[in-house]
């Protein structure tokens, strides 16, 4: 499948902190690609770097960063602004941060369309109402006249999704879109995203820390740790044959209902994510890895393992099957 978004060896730093250290991932046309990892591993910063929305002081560079064949690093700020909200749109964990409390939902949604595509405000409001219906908001007419604080968290996230769809984007970047929501509402929003992907032919880059979400919605997965993508695989493959010790550790930490053994401890990863400065060499996971040895302080190879599956570790493919149980 051809890639819609391709990111190769992305580096982002804030002063002396290296937030993203050579992350590579690609989002194919029409797929949901999950970027998964624990807090601070660089998921949001990677997405913001793609959108050129990094906070002040953030420096990005990449060997390659292209969207639908366009080299994103060569675009001017104006050209990038034209792409954003138009051909690629982004939604965030807390919708309130991207909704203006002083304006009605309707005027904020209409503004997105008129800014990018022109046309009348009335036509834009019609499209807003139509999309609100599409994302499962009942009585859109009434909602258009309301202010953000008058909506529940789940409704606000639906509004954000509808707003992101105003200009018919090809790529939707969703950064933890359900993390602040109750599980029942989360299920509704994730179903909505899946149906939009089908109907609008959207590609979705979904950022999450939740492996349950990954399993249920992703086509492909990139696992991040300390600013690097340490393993990439088709979803079923990642869960069937995870190779990177971090991926394996992460999977063992998740309590699974119905498979709980209450008198046994959960699997866990000892220690904490180390602070990593510029000039760090070798595997960033080594302070927590049971398989670390001194080779892990040197450059680590990316090991291919069949179709679209690779990982960053000194251990050879299939090593885990050779482990004593």
């Amino acid at each position: 499948m051809s890639a819609l978004l391709e990111v190769e060896e992305l580096q982002v730093s804030f002063g002396r902190t290296a937030a993203v250290r050579g992350a590579s991932f690609r989002v194919a046309k029409g797929e949901t690609h999950c970027l998964v990892g624990e807090s601070g591993c660089g998921k949001s910063v990677s997405a913001l770097a793609v959108m050129n929305l990094l906070a002040r002081g953030g420096q990005r560079s990449a060997k390659r960063m292209s969207f639908a064949g366009t080299d994103l690093t060569s675009l001017s700020d104006r050209e990038m602004a034209r792409l954003r909200g138009n051909r690629m749109a982004m939604i965030f964990q807390e919708p309130m941060t991207s909704l203006n409390p002083a304006f009605t939902i309707g005027s904020q949604m209409a503004e997105v369309l008129t800014r990018h595509k022109g046309g009348s405000r009335a036509a834009a409001l019609d499209r807003a109402a139509e999309l609100m219906g599409r994302v499962g908001i009942t009585a859109p007419g009434m909602r258009l006249g309301q202010f953000p604080h008058q909506l529940s968290g789940g409704l606000r996230q639906r509004v954000m999704i509808a707003m992101a769809l105003m200009c018919d984007p090809e790529l939707l970047i969703a950064d933890e879109p359900t993390t602040a929501l109750d599980v029942t509402v989360q299920a509704q929003i994730l179903r909505l995203l899946a149906s939009l992907k089908r109907e609008f032919g959207l590609s979705i880059l979904l950022i999450t820390h939740d492996l349950g979400i990954v399993a249920r919605v992703a086509d492909h997965v990139s696992v991040m740790y300390a600013g690097e993508v340490v393993e990439r695989a088709p979803t079923a493959e990642l869960f069937r044959a995870p190779q990177h010790p971090y991926t394996r550790g992460l999977l063992s930490c998740v309590p699974v209902p119905g498979r709980v053994q209450r008198d046994k401890p959960l699997g866990s990863i000892p220690g904490i994510v180390p602070a990593i400065g510029a000039g760090f060499a070798g595997c960033a996971f080594r302070s927590r890895c049971a398989h670390a040895n001194e080779t892990c302080t040197r450059a680590i190879p990316r090991r291919p393992m069949g179709d679209a599956h690779d990982y960053l570790c000194r251990l050879e493919p299939g090593w885990a099957e050779l482990q004593p149980a």
Binding site: E38, V183, L190, P255, G258, P265, L266
Partner: protein, 316 residues
């Protein structure tokens, strides 16, 4: 044997004004809650945001006076005990360890505070106990010298647990103790809480919105909806055969890491529960898939549910 926690017909009402001119509204945060937690066991409490879990916890801790009903902790009414005696009996661990630790004090001083407040321990005894509990929760002496901002989220939660346990209380109220943590750290903290309970014979009330976590830690589970416990039972029974449609929906919405299964259709609609506007009849009826006419005007009675539980639903 007296129960560690015994709660009877507990109710909490708040009066809130949404604007200067707006009429006063009555928020019923907890409504007629009754249960008891045997010593040494863990009661898990689950439910959506705003259903009254933290309000219940604050009443049990004696931080909030109930509008009606009684709370007995180890057979005693907390309001009859002084602060010091209360602190030796029951302690909280909250979600956000950062907000609950004084940012300007060293970890070991924060952990020592409950001992100092008792006014009954020598400096040497305080140091000995603080050192012991820090080690027990997996923090080195060097960590004890640090300020909260210099610790990771998981380390801060360990410090909060150390502070809660330093007086050797019998009962710990955990309100979303791992919700702010990453899964790998959550697993560390859940394992620690399990070890401590076993070794020290503690009783927990364990609040979480994560059903998988509750299944892992709890011996019994109570499901709250709009201030009421709508179902309660032994953990295995509740997870195997949930009786209340809301419990069923909650369980279905857990996304287990099983690829290819997609996201289930929970079918709860988009009407959000509002504790200042509780529907007549069964309070769950506007969202219930199987509601019948009766549910719209008659509140379901509390019915026994084997082996140990209860449920409030006309059709259960």
């Amino acid at each position: 044997m007296t129960a560690a926690i015994e709660v009877k017909n507990l109710r909490c009402e708040f009066r809130v004004r949404t604007g200067l001119m707006a009429a006063e509204k009555r928020v019923i945060a907890v409504d007629d809650v009754t249960f008891s937690v045997p010593a040494g066991s863990v009661l898990g409490v689950v439910g959506e945001s705003g259903c009254g879990k933290s309000t219940l916890a604050r009443m049990i801790l004696g931080l909030l006076k109930p509008t009606a009903g009684t709370v007995l902790v180890d057979g005693k009414r907390l309001f009859d005990l002084d602060r010091k005696a209360r602190a030796r009996l029951i302690q909280p661990v909250f979600q956000d360890p950062f907000a609950s630790l004084n940012p300007r004090r060293r970890i070991k001083d924060i952990v020592a505070l409950p001992l100092e407040a008792q006014g009954a321990f020598s400096r040497a005894e305080i140091d000995r106990r603080v050192g012991g509990i820090l080690e027990r929760v997996g923090l080195s002496a060097a960590m004890g010298e640090r300020m909260p901002a210099q610790l990771s989220g998981g380390q801060r939660q360990r410090a909060a647990i150390a502070r809660a346990l330093v007086l050797e209380p019998r009962i710990v109220i955990c309100d979303e103790p791992t919700s702010a943590l990453d899964v790998s750290v959550q697993a560390q903290i859940l394992n620690l809480l399990a070890d401590l309970r076993r070794d020290l014979g503690l009783t927990y009330l364990f609040i979480s919105h994560n059903l998988a976590v509750v299944e892992h830690v709890a011996s019994e589970v109570a499901v709250m909806y709009l201030g009421r416990i709508v179902e309660r039972n032994e953990t295995d029974a509740l997870f195997r055969a949930p009786a209340h449609p809301y419990t069923q929906a909650l369980l279905e919405s857990v996304l287990t890491p099983e690829p290819g299964r997609g996201v289930p259709d929970i079918g709860l609609g988009d009407i959000m529960p509002d504790p200042s506007n509780i529907p007549p009849g069964c309070r769950f009826n506007p969202r219930c898939r199987i509601a019948v006419e009766r549910c719209r005007h008659e509140a379901p009675a509390r019915m026994v549910r084997p082996p140990q539980g209860m449920v409030e639903c006309h059709l259960a």
